[in-house]
């Protein structure tokens, strides 16, 4: 595994994503849901909303890094949390 050049931060990053996927799979099995139509006027399930959250968060972090700078990067995660809440509530 040396060639993959693992670091703790990247390992934690992937673990969080893997845990989120496992959690959402369990939720989908335990509490099946019907897709709903939100502000985007498209049908979404919890899994879709997770995908939109993760993809959007990546862009929020990049935009923060490019426009504000790396010193306040943790604040971008705060913005991502607000964005995630909004996606799960309204999308």
């Amino acid at each position: 595994m040396d060639w993959m050049a693992w670091t703790w931060p990247t390992a934690i990053f992937f673990m969080v994503i893997a845990l989120a996927l496992i959690l959402f799979t369990i939720l989908a099995i335990k509490f099946p849901e019907t897709p709903r139509v939100g502000v985007l006027r498209i049908e979404t399930t919890r899994g879709d909303r997770l995908f939109i959250t993760l993809l959007g968060s990546a862009f929020i972090n990049l935009a923060w890094l490019g426009l504000v700078g790396p010193d306040t990067q943790p604040w971008a995660l705060g913005v991502c949390a607000i964005y995630a809440a909004a996606v799960f509530r309204w999308v």
Partner: protein, 289 residues
Amino acid sequence: MEKTVNQKAWFLVLPVLILVAFSAVIPLMTVVNYSVQDTFGNNQFFWAGLEWFEEMLSDERMWNALQRQLMFSAIILAIEIPLGIYVALHMPKSGFWSSFCLVVMSLPLLIPWNVVGTIWQIFGRVDIGLLGYTLDALGIDYNYTQDVFAAWVTIIVMDVWHWTSLVALLAFAGLKSIPDAYYQAAKIDQASRWKVFRFIELPKMMGVLMIAILLRFMDSFMIYTEPFVVTGGGPGNATTLLSIDLVKMALGQFDLGPAAAFSLMYFLVILLISWVFYTVMVNLDKKGM
């Protein structure tokens, strides 16, 4: 009767999951790991944090390559989609000539990318290429190795030649699926040719056209071999598209960290656009188009 719940079928997708893990997920994880580190070879890595992302985001070279890439994709889509539809509309619908057209149209799709590049590289040469020689004989100053405009025209015409038939074949399949009753109804209503196209053919083709746009966009957005073989990214950096720039950075300069950060941003853009197209396609499908 209650449906039996049996989750064992998931095991059937296991081989695909393993294949995708080795061909896509593990390399992607490695790229993420590389993007936050620096290396001088020898498999030794040093933590760099977000430095490469910061560098790439303020790197004019990447933004210029992205601009060129978007321009290339926009131009080829603007040409290939209408041209493909036009060709499909004028193809014979049945009989020998229909099959003949289908076979001839499929030919460019069967040629490997590097061969297409080589064909056009020779075709465009002023000394031995038919296109270059003819243009030169006509008094047109054409030299794709030195002139930016000629280089762009060459790679665009090459892509149009290579891929328009894909759009045409998809559009043709869409057209063939329209029942005759629609045309008969249009005839009774004395609809003009344009109205038949606008209100019958185009909406019925929308599903396959979305697939064509998605395929062509993704393919053109990650194009590498053909322009690389023809122009090598030149003259200067005029035709250095994203993937050409990325390969130069990763393999030419061995800047694995910046290249990894660059490719992750590239991946995110492709993922976003593909998701948008996919969502639109699924929604069109639900509307029965």
